[in-house]
Symmetry: C3
Subunit: 402 residues, 3 copies
């Protein structure tokens, strides 16, 4: 059906679900006098995948992405969900740090996530213990995979290779150093089953990681929707070699969402600390980012962390138009000034601030047409102390997922 | 069943079809004294894909090709077919230019398409409006995707990145310049529903494109079945840098097919014009190609643009042998002489002429064994004004598709 | 069901089976003072594939591996199994040489195969005639694909591109030379249908290949579980260019297995001969390897070449624990001393000897948790005639396959 195509064994103990997702985008830069960016059509995502379970509690997901230029295998994991309070997840999955990263890749409010997401790993390979508890008197629900939005209280604690800020290992994901990263997250829906219906959809949590990478490569930081680099670890002050992340790292991610009727909001703050080492220079870099986004479904449907289900599916000849969600976001990322002892401040910005407006037209529960406008301004990043020029982008997406 | 494996929702509104195709080839060069080419076995195509529809009129196709060395995602599109007269196709698909390119990748008469196909893009990312009309008194049929062979009159008009002659963007297909390409096509079956049954299968059309690429890379031109380069934009006259396609381009493709009983024919002509720019040298290059192919099903089945369905499936112990189709093709490509102001005429030919003989043995509607012989001769391309040596190739294919 | 998800046409003539496999590993080196190797989590295998048949006897398999860094298409073949005595297999598949290589990729006794496997090609593209015969009075069973463990006597004879020791061509697998390799194998279960039940599971055979490659590249040889290079054809004696395999090659693989109740054993010997040519130096290199492995299912299930099916599936709250198999292996590879006329003996070992202990915990017929310990010692490979330091590795695997 519309919620996917499933094959279930006659004894109901085994199930495989055949899933797919396509995202076809168009991106146009406004006032792009410097021609930094190329207006383009692109296939952002083209996935065919299997998920399901064997013997009821061994869940799996194998998800390639054929539109990816490097990470062609975003997810490949097993989750032994023997008991709601303790499940064992192994393989490649989203590390349990950024709330917005953990949101489904077809479910976001905007075409791309905000700044906080890019100060943690995108995907990583490792092992995680996770579980959920319910309010006394209620039964916790088993939820497989890295994100649980259903239970009163959830925890995740794991060990993984550590793939760096915005890192996403390709293929079989060999690590580059012996040191591993520890990741943990606590998240609660404190008003579950309390009867305060307008607060049932409030979720609060905090996540973090500690690691100690050995000469790990650094990925450039880019703007959310334009994916334009504004912090480039290869453009350096005279006399410096390309820095690596070498030494103790930690991240702290307080995070929250609130969904109530047609209204929704997500907020997240992050501090991500690492040591940039270039030759004998060792700089402690504490990058910070935060965002707040709000959305409203004008056609009256319920808002949720997993998107909107229209009351009436699109069928204009019958006067049915689907659901319309409007959204706004403010997000910023502050690069530690110490960075610019190594990185050239004339070519990388020390701060990026983005505000974004979006409209999501849900034709039905599978098809969405999205349009976003984003404006990003920068501190520094141009010659003689001037600022990088603002980025203004208009982007659309046609999306089908099942 | 033999026409594919489908899962349909109980309300018939949603369907996914699980499809696959394998092509395993052998290619042997005859009289290849210069050892230009390597005799080989190869897997030409290995595809697993999903296609289907949601809410009846939102069609989709997600098709990776695991045998491809670069373009691992040939097709990824959505097609909102709300009305036969106006459907909206978005994503990555075959641009509506070359008739033979639009033929199904498992349905060709020979192992590889003729010369005209290689003077347009193979795949591109963009958006297309298309539709179909029927003879008055008949109802047009909704056909999703880039090719419609069923209706009396069809049109396609689209905008896409533009990927150059024989271009095929990989993965998420970033464009390299801001300028887009406009592509259009008109195609008619003028004798549909006329009662002249021997003319019902006649189709006539014309397609074209206009663009204005900015320093777009150029792909070498190669022979149809051998895929041997005879026009190499990296082997240049002394003092020239590698040229790009830079400036106004256009293509015109008059095209026709005719299928009547066991007989079939396809013909196509093309002029593809672009500017080769190398430093200060700007050359207007008008390349031309054409082909005519004819085929005949000796076992009595109907010929068609989508292949042959045997009356009796192969089962030799029961004296059943499947269907046999014989075919011949003449095809040539004329490189504009102006090209050789930049490109070295001792290493690239100014004209290639190929004649091809083929036999297709349809074991059943899924399995085909093909054998082709092709001879290509060239004008120029060797030292001191001599011609490149002829290419003679014998090739076979075992193919399964569903 | 647990044995896979199948869609069969109503007339039973066509079937497609949707299959998947995930292997998530952890590898830790013990006493790795030199930090040659990186402790890591990794996704070793992530496959989604289709196999099945059309018109009853045309079998196919299309199997990509999304965790592979280079060979993303391990198998893509058609097998026309018209009669048990003569089937025609075309495409990309495991060449019929090493017995352990032919074992299913999810069915091995240890995480990785022993040394003999790496002296033949991993995968190759070509064509193979194969068939099976039964003891007089019994009917041979049709078995599609490259491995047949069911019939009394089987043969395989094929021609393929030849991809070198441990070679595995990527994508559409173009060959690099005109010369092809001939591969043959004979294998018998002499006690099938004899009533000596403890000998029914004994299989004996011999396989071999002959070829004559022209300047084919050489792949490094690596330890079984650690995949650490100990023979590196790029680290050479002064004055030598990188050698290629150039001239007559042959391989001989006597092989056997025996499964009887809970006990299992596999043994294999190989001599693989080729010419290393570097400039004017032409060295005939005869590498040799062998292994013997034994396993025992302590929980009482039957052992087999295709793994173990637990009597009771894992369900600890009900006191059910699955099946446990213990195993040991000794394996060695002897590099021909002539190699070191070209290759630097201070950086490559002349012999590697590995002993391995393993435990396989079958939770059910789909999920296995494996743990292996392996110790590899070397002759030579360090400066001044000393030996490379031993490799000690502990590795685990969580595996699901269906």
């Amino acid at each position: 059906g519309a919620d996917g195509f499933k094959i279930t064994s006659s004894d109901k103990k085994h199930q495989v679900r055949i899933r797919g997702a396509v995202q076809t985008d168009a991106r146009f830069w406004l006032n792009d006098n410097t021609s930094r960016s190329i207006d383009k059509f692109e296939v952002k995502q083209a996935r065919i995948w299997l998920e399901g379970y064997f013997f009821k509690d061994i869940y799996f997901k194998i998800m390639p992405d054929f539109a990816a230029s490097s990470n062609i295998l975003p997810d490949a994991y097993l989750d032994y969900a023997y008991h709601p309070a303790a499940s064992l997840l192994v393989g490649k999955f989203k590390p349990s740090i950024s709330l917005e990263r953990l949101q489904g890749d077809s479910d976001g409010t905007f075409l791309e996530r905000g700044f906080p997401t890019y100060l943690a790993s995108n995907r990583d390979v490792g092992i995680q213990l996770h579980g959920a508890f319910s309010k006394p008197g209620y039964k916790a629900e088993t939820v497989a995979g890295p994100i649980d939005t259903k239970n009163t209280f959830t925890y995740q604690i794991g060990v993984s290779n550590g793939s760096g800020d915005d890192g996403s290992p390709n293929n079989n994901s060999p690590d580059t150093d012996n040191n591993k990263e520890v990741v943990g997250r606590l998240f609660a829906h404190p008003f579950h089953h309390t009867g305060y219906s307008w607060l049932e959809g409030l979720g609060l949590g905090v996540a973090g990681s500690v690691g100690n990478p050995d000469k790990q490569g650094l990925k450039a930081q880019a703007t959310p929707i334009g994916r334009t680099t504004y912090l480039d670890y290869t453009k350096l002050n005279t006399g410096f070699a390309a820095p690596t992340s070498d030494g103790a790292t930690y991240r702290i991610y307080p995070q929250a969402y609130w969904f109530s009727g047609p209204f929704g909001a997500i907020g997240e703050y992050v501090i991500s600390s690492q040591h940039l080492v270039s030759g004998r220079t060792d700089v402690k870099q504490d990058n910070k980012a935060w965002q707040i986004l709000a959305s409203y479904v004008v056609t009256g449907e319920d808002n949720s962390f997993a998107g909107v289900k229209p009351i009436q599916n699109f069928d204009p000849l019958k006067g049915k138009w689907g659901a319309l969600q409007l959204a706004a976001r403010y997000s910023e990322l502050d690069v530690d000034d110490a960075t610019f002892r190594i990185v050239d401040p004339n070519l990388s910005a020390s701060k990026a601030k983005a505000w974004t407006l979006g409209a999501n037209w849900y034709l039905n529960s599978n098809a969405i047409i999205r349009a976003d406008y984003e404006n990003v301004s920068f501190d520094g990043g141009a010659a003689r102390g001037r600022d990088m020029p603002n980025e203004s982008i208009f982007a659309t997406r046609f999306q089908l997922s099942f």
